[in-house]
């Protein structure tokens, strides 16, 4: 497995690091959000389902952040990255940090991101970065199940009762504005596409859009109008939500600096 740990031999080291952090942070933040449901879901079966998703995402985060730490080459590990960076250093997609809201809102957020992860991981299967390709190979099996779960629920709720329909349509309308960021490529993405590491986002967008349209149709939901790109989580500019989440998540490591757990 080739990794890229020597700065002299990796011309795209900075971009690679950033890219790995974006993927890892998105999985971590989303996993953290889902874990909030444990013990509070609509049914015991859903407690297990959401915990299962959360566990998968935390697992992905660990692999991605560990690799990122190696690429960074400063002696940090997955925990140093997760627990000792402040919000501006996190580069997750803004959509991932949005609060859970009700079950419908969580499902909408999940479905949009599952469909995104599916495209990205699929695109990474043939990455010139064989370690990243391997991580994607493992993650994509999980993501296929996640999408089955979230899209299944979106359909049940969209085409369930009047109340459930209203709730998920509202959630969709509110969360849609965060989807423009999913495919907004910047210089990091461009550098990695050129190096054969990452798939081109524009190419993925069409498939993502078609898949979402299919699910929305089955769910009897209306696709909201397009909104301009204005959220920059992947560039470290977040909504207020991330700060609170990190304060909670990082509390122990911040309070007992240097301790082993």
């Amino acid at each position: 497995m080739s990794t890229a740990t020597e700065s002299t031999s990796d011309p795209v080291r900075e971009a690679r690091l950033r890219y790995l952090l974006r993927l890892g942070d998105t999985s971590l933040v989303l996993g953290q959000r889902l874990a909030e449901w444990v013990g509070h879901s609509p049914a015991l079966e859903e407690d297990l389902g959401l915990a299962n998703l959360s566990l998968d995402l935390v697992g992905q985060a660990r692999l991605l952040l560990s690799y990122a730490a190696e690429v960074e080459g400063k002696g940090r590990d997955e925990d140093a990255l997760a627990f000792l960076r402040d919000a501006p250093a996190f580069v997750n997609l803004t959509l991932a940090e949005q609060p859970n809201g009700d079950f419908g809102r969580t499902i909408v957020r999940q479905c949009l991101l599952d469909a995104w992860q599916l495209e990205v991981y699929e695109g990474l299967l043939n990455s010139s970065d064989t370690r990243l390709a391997s991580i994607a190979g493992k993650a994509i099996k999980e993501t296929r199940y996640h999408l089955r779960f979230s899209s299944g629920w979106l359909v049940r709720l969209g085409d369930g009762t009047e109340e459930s329909h209203r709730r998920v349509q509202d959630a969709l309308n509110e969360l849609w504005r965060f989807t423009t960021e999913l495919f907004a490529a910047d210089e990091v993405d461009e550098a990695l596409v050129a190096a054969g590491v990452a798939p081109e986002l524009a190419a993925l967008q069409g498939r993502w859009s078609a898949r979402i349209d299919e699910v929305l149709k089955e769910a009897a939901l209306v696709r909201p109008a397009a909104v301009p790109y204005q959220w920059h989580g992947k560039r470290g500019v977040h909504t207020e939500h991330l700060g609170h989440m990190l304060a909670e998540m990082q509390h122990l490591q911040r309070t007992y600096p240097g301790a082993q757990w």
Binding site: E45, G49, Y145, G152
Partner: protein, 94 residues
């Protein structure tokens, strides 16, 4: 479960070559959900290559009261069991 989440029985084949085994039951609104729930509840440790879910109300079972009539006659037919026959030790592969 409230609002009609009927009961399903769950059968899992844990490895290729084995039969499906009954592992328990769960509630779900529809069959797809039942399979998903079965996966989440009964295959957390990779104990599954195949899942069957059946509505509990669709299962037809023998009545324990009929056990004698259904199963006792088989007890008399000992010639169905290999141990009934005395084969000399020198004969192999029998």
């Amino acid at each position: 479960m409230s609002n009609d989440w009927p009961l399903y029985e769950v059968f899992i084949r844990s490895r290729s070559g084995l039969e499906h085994k009954h592992v328990g039951s769960l509630h779900a609104a529809d069959a797809t959900m039942a399979v998903d729930h079965a996966r989440d509840v009964y295959t957390r440790r990779q104990e599954g290559v195949s899942i069957w879910v059946v509505r509990s109300s669709d299962i037809v079972a023998s009545d324990p009261k009929d056990a004698d009539a259904l199963f006792e006659p088989a007890r008399d037919k000992v010639y169905r069991h290999p141990t009934f026959y005395a084969i000399p030790d020198e004969v192999k592969n029998l």
